[in-house]
């Protein structure tokens, strides 16, 4: 079943054309890796899927389970199940993780006509997901990402993903900044969240992450287009040869 369909997507930022006709179909249950040189447009694609206001779509469409994403605002897309693990997560001084997470979860539940979580249910969920990602106790009372190390921020992204249980999860260079143990824990977490009803886009520069999160397909994005699609062997090939063939 088609979970995500991107058709002929063109987008620009600050007047500069970045995405030049992206076509991508992802079925439920699949993991797709996107690789490609710096500046190719990988993060731009994430920004456009999630509805970042700076990016302008001039052509094409994006459907999530048949629904038109481009007509929704960012928060509606998130509540429909789009989740981005940011390449550079924002810091939010003064807003505690607990307050942030409770608000996010409850706004999503309200959107789906579900009752608000009780304090006990919420805390149990927090505890469970924290344990899954081997996160310390103290972080829940800290402000969102404030003073977190690079690796802690990335772990926190996956923690939030576990809390929100998205339909489409986009991991934008989640592996960068993670130490070897954290990489394994995060990858295990991502694998546990995998189901027949969701799908993942994993953006990475390194084959290593794909040893843990095994992709069904690997795409090469270069200069705003998907220039090649293959299976996990393509990542091994790229690791060895680089992107010269696509320049």
């Amino acid at each position: 079943m088609k979970l995500l369909e991107i058709k002929n997507l063109h987008a620009s930022v600050a007047g500069k054309q970045i995405l030049k006709g992206i076509n991508l179909t992802i079925n439920a249950g699949e993991v797709h890796a996107i690789m490609g040189p710096n500046g190719a447009g990988k993060s731009t694609l994430s920004a456009v899927i999630t509805g970042h206001p700076m990016y302008e779509v001039s052509e094409g469409e994006i459907l999530l389970n048949g629904k038109d994403l481009l007509s929704m605002n960012p928060e509606e897309r998130a509540r429909e199940g789009v989740f981005l693990s940011f390449q550079y997560p924002a810091e939010i001084p003064g807003v505690s993780m607990v307050n942030f997470m409770r608000t996010a979860l409850n706004e999503k539940r309200k959107y789906h006509n579900l009752p608000q979580l009780s304090a006990t249910e919420f805390l149990r969920l927090m505890r469970e997901k924290k344990a899954m990602l081997a996160m310390g106790d103290k972080f829940a009372n800290r402000a969102v990402n404030e003073g977190f190390s690079g690796g802690e921020k990335k772990k926190n992204e996956i923690f939030q993903m576990a809390m929100l249980q998205p339909v489409l999860q986009i991991l934008d260079e989640t592996d960068s900044g993670l130490d070897i143990d954290a990489l394994r824990i995060v990858a295990d977490g991502v694998n546990k969240l995998k189901s027949q009803d969701n799908a993942s886009i994993v953006i990475t520069h390194y084959q290593r992450l794909l040893d843990y999160i095994v992709p069904d397909f690997v795409h090469v994005l270069a200069d705003g287009k998907i220039v090649e699609t293959g299976t996990k062997d393509l990542a091994l090939y790229l690791e060895e040869k680089g992107y010269v063939a696509y320049n």
Binding site: E75, A78, R79, I92, G94, V95, N99, A104, L164
Partner: protein
């Protein structure tokens, strides 16, 4: 409101002033006295606070919160005077302005020649929620002693778009996200209210007027 207050030696006093249109405070602090003053405005106000540390080891804390819109105006003049050394003063001022609101802060800090080992801090941070609001900040430092620690900082900016998008990406509406950022911004100055009941009430009130 117009008052002259003397804090006796080692006396500790908390004062919370909410929405007083006209504040004239003259406070004199004796040896080791401690003052914690909160001025909280979501209506127009003119605040003038003059505080003198006339003996050593005094602590002066001033917290000002202003949340203004619709042509409201708050003017605050603090004049903190370290006449004798060994005292501490801390000023935290937070203005959030929109819809042609105006904020004006003049912060005079005086440290007398013999008031060595004084420690003074002044922080004024402001948020403009649209481009019709204006803020004027004038720190005025008159420091005549050489062995002191004095810091001051003033910034005026907008809500962090990056943080807002991050929150929206987690399903939080734009409006709720803005509210959370504003509350977070103001609470730094409100959290220091020692009376828990009063603090909760104020935080709730502010949340409801946002």
């Amino acid at each position: 409101m117009c008052e002259e207050i003397v804090l006796k030696a080692n006396e500790s006093r908390d004062i919370v002033i909410v929405n007083e249109p006209n504040v004239r405070l003259r406070i004199s602090q004796e040896e080791g006295s401690q003052l914690r003053l909160h001025i909280i405005d979501w209506q127009s106000a003119d605040n003038d606070v003059h505080i003198e540390q006339v003996a050593s080891n005094c602590v002066t804390e001033i917290y000002q919160v202003a949340y203004l819109k619709d042509n409201q105006k708050v003017t605050t003049h603090t004049n903190v005077r370290h006449l004798v050394g060994g005292g501490v003063s801390k000023q935290v001022l937070r203005f959030v302005l929109s819809e042609h609101a105006k904020g004006d802060f003049l912060g005079t800090l005086y440290i007398a020649k013999d008031a060595q080992k004084s420690c003074a801090e002044q922080s004024n941070r402001n948020l403009l929620l649209d481009d019709t609001a204006t803020m004027r900040t004038r720190p005025q430092l008159e420091i005549y002693a050489d062995d002191v620690q004095a810091t001051h900082g003033a910034t005026t900016g907008q809500l962090d778009e990056n943080a807002l998008f991050y929150m929206q990406q987690r399903g939080i509406s734009r409006q709720a996200a803005e509210r959370m950022l504003i509350v977070a911004f103001l609470s730094e100055a409100i959290e220091t209210i020692r009376n828990e009941e009063q603090k909760e009430k104020l935080l709730n009130t502010i949340d409801s007027i946002l």
